[in-house]
């Protein structure tokens, strides 16, 4: 029980920190650990240097923050020198935190001993894309990206289900646990494929539920579904009035 109260970097004799340190020293020598013992927090400060193939080095000043439940919780990385504008179109929060990915699509693997280095490599590619964005001088992110806000999550759900908004509308009651969305494994799939649900979309639906979490599902998909159904009711109402 005593182990539970220790900050993560002291647990198991500090094994995870030691492992991460070794990895960082080799692959990211520009980063240094800073341990704020009073607060029980750990940071990585310094720079990630991207070297172009022609040899020009571009250092990006960063800070990496580790959550209290690290490595279960994923680290967060911030660009700290204002090298890039901290705006959503550039995939930054106002405080400089990099939005490397949509949370349900996180590539963070707490059990991977190289997880932190892989995370920083993802960040390095993200910074390289920032430099490409600047070099191109056009306002278009170089590569795939998600839309802002709720729309990004809805894209994820749609893509996981393998369809568009119509399919999302069909599965929203299922995802949200509505009575109208109750479906058994051997029932026909709500998508209309005439296949059994278990052989069709069941796996996708469970994936969405697991990766989104019920809170996000209720908030984001729920909000969208309510809005959509209300709009439809209004349209039906208008049509009925028209025929009266």
């Amino acid at each position: 029980m005593h182990q539970m109260h220790k900050p993560w970097y002291l647990q198991n004799g500090g094994a995870r920190l030691a492992q991460d340190r070794a990895c960082i020293a080799e692959a990211f020598p520009g980063l240094t650990y800073r341990i704020a013992e009073a607060a029980g927090r750990v940071f990585l400060d310094g720079s990630i240097t991207l070297v172009a193939e022609c040899g020009v080095p571009t250092p990006i000043a960063v800070r990496v923050e580790f959550p209290a439940d690290y490595p279960q919780g994923e680290p967060r990385i911030f660009e700290v020198a204002g090298r890039f504008p901290h705006v959503s179109d550039r995939h930054f929060f106002e405080d400089g935190q990099c939005c490397l990915w949509l949370p349900p699509e996180s590539r963070w693997n707490p059990d991977d001993p190289d997880g932190l280095c892989l995370f920083l490599e993802e960040a390095a590619v993200f910074f390289d894309q920032q430099l490409v964005y600047e070099a191109e001088g056009r306002s278009e992110w170089p590569g795939a990206q998600h839309s802002h806000g709720d729309e990004g999550y809805l894209e994820f759900v749609q893509e996981t289900l393998g369809g568009g908004r119509d399919l999302l509308a069909v599965f929203a009651p299922v995802l949200l646990g509505h009575k109208t969305g109750h479906v058994q494994s051997n029932d026909p799939c709500p998508c209309g494929s005439r296949r059994k649900y278990k052989r069709c979309h069941k796996q996708c639906v469970e994936n969405v539920k697991r990766r989104m979490g019920s809170g996000n599902l209720q908030a984001i998909v729920g909000r969208w579904y309510t809005r959509t159904t209300e709009t439809k009711k209004d349209e039906v109402g208008l049509t009925s009035k028209h025929y009266q």
Partner: protein, 514 residues
């Protein structure tokens, strides 16, 4: 052939290590500047700088209707002009700095610190050369166009230094008068001078000058008799008959049948060229000027500041030359004060490859300036390169003899490249339409038309930006995996797999609500 950060950094480190301690002193007595000056022995010289341009030479060199004999006649004319002008400059007590293609740069610094005499000699040189072209040179070459000249003169302090060794030395001057005299040359065949020159002139020469509406003063034409009177009044002589005789002797000495020109399959060795051996190639000319340098050196007042400025000057000069020659297999034609002129002519007659190479070289020059030179020389932080380029048929030759030899390129596009550079600002690369239109898409996309420059301009374009733009199209937009390699300095991201590289599929970033 490409620019590389580490290679550039290493070159600059070596240049600076090998550079001796620079001395800059005021020139207090007459001396043979070619013997006195060196890279490290520099002198602050008060003098009158004169530029005289014969614009027809460039146009004729690009004349597609010229027959082989016409072309040889032009080569003969250019060389004989250079020989005659050299004699005239020396006869009037001046120093031939060099020929920048069809443009003469001469200096009067004797008698030391005598502004009136120096200004008078500079103006008289302009008048003598105008008379020479009209009364001797044009009659001697009746088959060519009537040549006309334009001139500019300024007076003041400039620092003299030297590049090269032994028989291949180039006098170099940096400072306001050396720069300004060239800038006031008009395209309308006028002889012009700055207010500094006008103020220093004796009364008899002031009387033939007037101020133009755009600022500089202009010298009125004078008759041959009046010119002789003015020369005599200033104890100078120019023997018109002797000059004409020398021109005729030179024509006999260098007959058309001995003059040859050819194309070039391999890199031109300019030092092997002469009046008898010339090259006529499809070439891209490039001019790179250190924008802000004249202001920088003018602001250097103490000896230490001047030494530092000269150190910066030599480091930039050598590095830019190495980018042109070493990184991109071009020809360094000439240093012109704080400007360098280069030529790219290979692969022979392959205009697309040549255009790509000259633009890549320009990007390399900007990269050296912005990344490696400034990293080594923080005092150069405000200096930028302005670069202009154009491509066309170019005559390449070498004028003069022995230690005084000038590499020249003649052609309308050479002049156009110089003008594009002159209209550009620091940090810009300016292309003619001819170069722009045949560039590959990934390079052309960096340039937009500028009415001010009258060409296509890219600002702050360096090698890593070109590379990253290409990367954007090649793999980020295509959704391909990238490969990360950890090196001593940092991470390199590439589209090529290697043994040490780790593959990363670029993520799909998200953003909170806008």
């Amino acid at each position: 052939m490409s620019w590389n950060y580490q290679r550039s950094e290493e070159r600059i480190r070596k240049h600076l290590e090998d550079m001796g301690e620079i001395q800059v002193e005021k020139l207090r007595r007459e001396a043979d500047l070619e013997q006195l000056l060196s890279e490290t022995t520099c002198r602050d010289i008060y003098g009158a700088h004169v530029y005289i341009q014969v614009s027809n030479f460039a146009r004729l060199a690009s004349d597609g209707s010229y027959t082989e004999d016409d072309y040889k006649r032009l080569i003969q004319g250019v060389h004989i002009y250079e020989r005659a002008v050299t004699r005239i400059v020396e006869g009037l007590g001046g120093v031939l700095v060099h020929f920048q293609g069809p443009k003469l740069h001469a200096l009067f610094y004797r008698p030391i610190d005598d502004g009136e005499a120096l200004a008078a000699r500079a103006v008289l040189l302009q008048l003598v050369l105008k008379d020479f072209v009209k009364s001797i040179f044009n009659p001697a070459f009746p088959a060519c166009d009537d040549f006309t000249i334009a001139g500019g003169t300024d007076l003041g302090n400039a620092i003299g230094t030297m590049d090269g060794i032994n028989g291949d030395r180039e006098l170099l001057f940096v400072g306001v008068p050396a720069n300004h005299a060239a800038k006031i040359i008009s395209t309308a065949n006028r002889l012009r001078l700055t207010q500094q020159v006008y103020k220093a002139l004796p009364e008899d020469l002031r009387a033939i000058c007037f101020q133009t509406v755009d600022g500089p003063y202009q010298v009125l034409p004078v008759s041959s008799d009046d010119l002789d009177t003015l020369l005599k009044a200033h104890r100078l002589t120019w023997n018109r008959d002797e000059c004409a005789r020398h021109v005729e002797e030179d024509k006999e000495r260098f007959p058309l049948e001995d003059i040859a020109y050819s194309s070039a399959e391999v890199l031109i060795e300019v030092d092997d060229l002469s009046i008898f051996n010339n090259k006529r190639v499809l070439g891209a000319s490039i001019f790179a000027d250190v924008s802000g340098f004249t202001r920088y050196i003018d602001a250097a007042t103490s000896d230490e500041e001047k030494q530092e400025a000269l150190r910066v000057f030599h480091a930039i000069r050598k590095e830019t030359a190495r980018v042109i020659t070493g990184d991109f297999n071009g020809v360094r034609i000439q240093y012109q004060g704080d400007r360098i002129q280069g030529l790219f002519h290979l692969p022979e007659d392959d205009e697309e490859a040549i255009a790509q190479k000259v633009v890549e070289a320009a990007v390399g020059l900007q990269s050296s300036m912005e990344h490696t030179l400034k990293a080594r020389l923080p005092e150069a932080k405000d200096l930028r390169l302005a670069i202009g380029m154009d491509m066309g048929t170019t005559l390449v030759s070498k004028l003069g003899a022995r230690g005084q030899r000038d590499r020249i390129c003649l052609g309308e596009e050479v002049e156009c490249a110089a003008q594009l550079e002159e209209r550009s600002e620091g940090g810009q690369i300016a292309l003619s339409k001819a170069v722009y239109e045949i560039l590959p898409d990934e390079l052309r996309g960096h340039f937009t038309y500028s009415a001010k420059v009258q060409g296509f301009v890219a600002t702050d374009l360096t090698a890593e930006k070109v590379e990253r733009t290409a990367r954007g199209s090649k793999f980020y937009r295509a959704g391909a995996a990238v490969f990360l390699t950890a090196g001593a300095i940092g991470l390199t991201i590439s589209g090529l797999k290697s043994a040490r590289a780790r593959s990363v599929a670029p993520g799909r970033p998200y953003a909170p609500d806008a």
